[in-house]
């Protein structure tokens, strides 16, 4: 069991800086997910924690011990790779026991640990097979099993499910969640899939271009994102961003006019410094936060371009020309392309951002 602390961690490849001073504190036993778009530095951060990549600046501590100069094998971590990285010429059993055998671990203890890992992951029948005789999901289990056998204090996962099909991904996700409960150890999990992040994490770290944008519990990020990037990244489909201008200001609220929606106005109460009249702002509304006419504080007419019916919900893509909106509707099965309808926005179900993307609260 161990906490993991990153203090001002910097990573440079040559002169090219890819992580710009990350500060992340992960509690003992916590499940933390690093999420962000491709190339933002998630894997690099994880590999620095693992000790596979050296640290250009700052400090990483595991279990209260500074590990900057500690060998990867001595950090008490185990890593599951995206490509599984199984030893192709060994059976599953040999894959699981390889590390222990190479280090002269007593045979009885090795057998016990391998048996236990195989039991946890239900791979007992596969023990004599080689990786190429396994399906993707089975390989992933073996890779996780190899991590379990090490009995690490911290598990690291680098996009472990990205090579699996959708159904298997959901199944393995549940299993990883169960594993976390069962083992109770710290887990750090990298993904670019926000659904995986939302469902697995105790806390999510949102990264963008080598910077930590926000750290928080999944629903906190959903309800209260720190900026436009996080707001757009968390939630699916993506939040809608509507161009707006501040046209009125009173004590505790501003009124904004939606530039592309026929001058519809919304009065938005705020609790911090109010933007001045005339400021350009952006109003963020999630697809699922458009209400029926009259239910909200501001009605806007839209014209459907494409409607996707998924059964339980429908997504209507509207107003392609001026400002594309995605509207989620539970009862919109009859909506078709070309339909005109009106949706309503609630002040408390919308978010305001300034031009730089920072949140206006």
């Amino acid at each position: 069991m161990a906490a993991v602390t990153l203090t001002n961690v910097v990573k440079r490849f040559g002169t090219f800086e890819v992580v710009h001073g990350a500060n992340i504190a992960i509690a003992d036993g916590e499940f933390v997910v690093f999420v962000g778009p491709s190339g933002c530095g998630k894997s690099t951060l994880l590999r620095m924690i693992a000790g596979l990549e050296d640290i250009s600046g700052g400090e990483i501590a595991i279990g209260g011990k500074l590990v900057n100069d500690v060998e990867a094998a001595d950090r008490g971590i185990a890593m599951v790779f995206q490509s599984y990285a199984l030893y192709p010429h060994m059976t599953v059993e040999q894959n699981l026991s390889f590390g222990l055998r190479m280090n002269g671990n007593p045979k009885a203890d090795t057998d016990r640990r391998v048996k236990r890992a195989a039991g946890i992951l239900c791979i007992e029948e596969l023990m004599q097979r080689r990786p190429k005789q396994l399906s993707g999901g089975q390989r992933q289990r073996v890779a996780i099993g190899r991590a379990i056998v090490r009995e690490p204090q911290v598990f690291l996962f680098d996009e472990p499910l990205s090579n699996l099909d959708a159904e298997l991904r959901v199944q393995m996700r549940v299993e990883i969640s169960r594993l976390h409960k069962e083992l109770g150890v710290t887990m750090i999990y990298v993904t670019h899939d926000q659904t995986e992040a939302m469902t697995l994490a105790d806390r999510i770290v949102v990264l963008k271009a080598g910077n930590v944008e926000q750290i928080g519990a999944p629903l906190d990020l959903y309800d209260d994102p720190a900026n436009r990037f996080v707001a757009g990244f968390i939630g699916s489909p993506k939040m809608n961003f509507l161009k707006a201008n501040v046209v009125e200001q009173d004590q505790r609220s501003v009124t904004v006019e939606l530039a592309n929606h026929g001058g519809a106005k919304l009065k938005k109460p705020l609790c911090e410094a109010l933007p001045a009249v005339g400021t350009e702002v952006v109003l963020g509304v999630r697809p699922e936060h458009f209400f029926e006419v009259g239910e909200g504080d501001c009605d806007i007419p839209v014209k459907a371009d494409v409607a996707e019916h998924l059964g339980s919900v429908s997504y209507v893509y509207a107003n392609a020309g001026a400002e594309e909106l995605v509207v989620e509707r539970e009862a919109a099965r009859q909506r078709a392309s070309g339909d005109h309808f009106t949706v309503s926005i609630k002040a408390e179900r919308s978010l305001l951002f300034d031009k730089t993307g920072a949140r206006i609260r």
Partner: protein, 286 residues
């Protein structure tokens, strides 16, 4: 479908004809010739004439012994060396990688005669740089060309020099196909670099190494250039005569085509047998 196949074969006919005339026919023909007495005209069918002679011919057994000796020592040494060279070439610490890759490959490109001449010079008794080097570290000069053991060693050194780099390049390709993350996983498993080499790299390179070994065995079975040019036709006194040289001597010098064919078939048969044994020894465990 039939018709389309027929068209394809019609296009292939010119090639197949040439293949039949210059490949298939000589193979069959030499097999038939090996059963004929060809020392005097007219040739006549006499199966025991060549094959019988082969079994009792001291020159044949001398050549066979020399060929196998070179094979048994030179091939393993060269393949091991090639693996080491490939690993060094693959090291991220290495600078000017392209230059080394070229240098390793260069011996194959150099003309055989030029290379043999250089080797004769380097190993010459009084002027050769090798003997000078031996002298300078306080060792006796070696007469590489007049004694059997040094002459055999010289052949092996020359063949190894010429082909080790070539094999190293093939093995390098195999090395580069091993994914990096397998080694990272092993590093996290606290497996040392040396153990990684023996427990991961070597087993995964096995198919490539077997391929190189088979190529080398076939090549060494036919060894000709080095004993012909460097030790002057298998000298001293037949001490480095190989099956390839014996074949040449019988076929081209004595014009005894029947016996030469029998020797050629023996060489091919041995190469196939050794290769099969090796493939069987190195087979994938079930």
């Amino acid at each position: 479908m039939r018709y389309r196949n027929a068209t394809a074969y019609r296009f292939l006919t010119p090639y197949l004809l040439i293949f039949a005339i210059f490949w298939i026919w000589p193979i069959i023909s030499s097999f038939l010739i090996s059963f004929q007495a060809t020392r005097t005209l007219p040739w006549r069918f006499a199966p025991a004439f060549n094959w019988g002679r082969l079994i009792g011919d001291p020159a044949f057994f001398n050549a066979l012994k020399n060929t196998l000796l070179i094979l048994v020592i030179q091939v393993p040494v060269m393949i091991s060396l090639a693996v080491v060279m490939a690993v060094l070439l693959n090291s991220p610490l290495l600078k000017a990688r392209g230059l080394y890759r070229f240098a390793f490959f260069a011996p194959v490109v150099v003309g055989e005669v030029a290379y043999s001449a250089v080797f004769r010079l380097m190993f010459s008794l009084d002027f050769g740089i090798i003997n000078k080097l031996l002298n300078s570290v306080g060792l006796e000069k070696i007469d590489w060309f007049s004694n059997v053991t040094p002459a055999m060693a010289l052949i092996m050194i020359a063949v190894t020099w010429r082909w080790a780099g070539y094999n190293a390049i093939i093995i390098l390709a195999g090395l580069q196909s091993i994914p990096e993350d397998v080694y990272e996983a092993a590093t996290l498993d606290r497996v040392s670099k040396v153990k990684q080499f023996f427990h991961i790299t070597l087993p995964l390179l096995k198919p490539v190494i077997v391929f190189c070994a088979v190529l080398s065995i076939i090549g060494t079975m036919q060894l000709f250039t080095e004993p012909f040019l460097i030790t002057e036709r298998g000298g001293p006194g037949g001490g480095t005569e190989t099956l390839g040289l014996l074949l040449y001597r019988q076929g081209f010098r004595s014009l005894n085509f029947g016996y030469a064919s029998a020797i050629a078939y023996t060489m091919a048969g041995l190469a196939i047998a050794i290769t099969l044994v090796q493939l069987w020894l190195m087979r994938e465990p079930k």
